[in-house]
Symmetry: C5
Subunit: 95 residues, 5 copies
């Protein structure tokens, strides 16, 4: 799973039937300082996330599992809202 921030929404009237009913969220991957890294992508919502939320996302089969649609065209989804990240980067130097 990776972390990101929801920065928008996408409207697609014409789409695969298996995606009907799933909100499409424009998601910006971020680093642990909440700075943008790489390009935004589109994920369905599995946890009631909205614009501005700091989230956890999954890709591939995991994303279809998250909305109980194993046979859908979905390949990315928001699977959690991040409350807190506790970081100890110093452990990299310890050993």
């Amino acid at each position: 799973m990776r972390i990101g921030v929801i920065i928008g929404t996408v409207v697609a009237t014409r789409k695969c039937e298996s995606m009907v009913g799933n909100k499409l969220l424009l998601t910006q991957p971020v680093n642990i300082k909440r700075e943008a890294i790489g390009e935004p992508f589109v994920a369905v919502d599995a946890v009631g996330a909205g614009v501005g939320d700091f989230i956890l996302y999954a890709t591939g089969t995991a994303s279809r599992n998250s909305v109980q649609k194993p046979k859908s065209s979905i390949d990315a989804s928001i699977i959690g809202i991040v409350d807190n990240v506790d970081i100890h980067p110093d452990v990299l130097e310890e050993k």
Copy 2:
């Protein structure tokens, strides 16, 4: 899912039988300003997309699901036509 623009078509007379009947679309990944990012690739069409369309694509199992061909050689497909993207990039700075 990621966003792209259909920039062409591909003809492949000799191909896996499981792909027969699926239009092959040359797809250029784009960013939210609709600028090209990375190299074009080939996707099958699941929503009646054509050259010039601003689209949503999926890869892997999701793409086979989109055309109801789970046992095919397909690994990318166009799964939606984007009507609108509503962006709030400012939310990245808010917290």
Copy 3:
């Protein structure tokens, strides 16, 4: 799917039994101008491709499907011979 050119062959006498009987083709990914992009990799052949052919390849489950070996160790295969690519890159600027 992505496009490439077959630039060689690979011989591996000692290999997983599930791969016996599948030709191993050294494949160079190319862009739409047929210029090399990234490193060559090894794919099995599902369409009778040979050195010099301009091809379409797939990765992951799609590649195992292409040779009807879902339980094999294969993760890339040649699934089509490209006859023609019709490109309209101008559509990126249109909107």
Copy 4:
């Protein structure tokens, strides 16, 4: 599988039900000198790993298998604690 160091933990109260009960570990991919490479990501724990541990991680289906949750939203997990890496980089020049 790839190697990394656990550098923190993530708390997400609102998340997919299939992830409840799995510790979320912030994982920094490292090279064989234990130097950070790329961005940290979030993995569930399958082996009792904690902050500072030098670990082996897997992604995709392998990660769901590691915690016996094939239908979960998980796409990365810690699957081993590295005791020792024995390296012979010189073999690259030998042939």
Copy 5:
């Protein structure tokens, strides 16, 4: 599949039970000149490979198939020993 050279071994006493009995090989991806490209990773052995061997590796489901452990935590494996690579890079300019 991609090519690499085995440059070492990894010992992980604490690991997922599904990985017990599989040798862990530190694998350096290489190009066709046998020069290192990218970072080494860890793969299980499916063909009796050892340090110094020039090999073929697979990732994802293919790697679990290679050791007949579809439900394991494995996501990369050595699936062949390369005897010879026959290259015709000139074919890229021919057309």
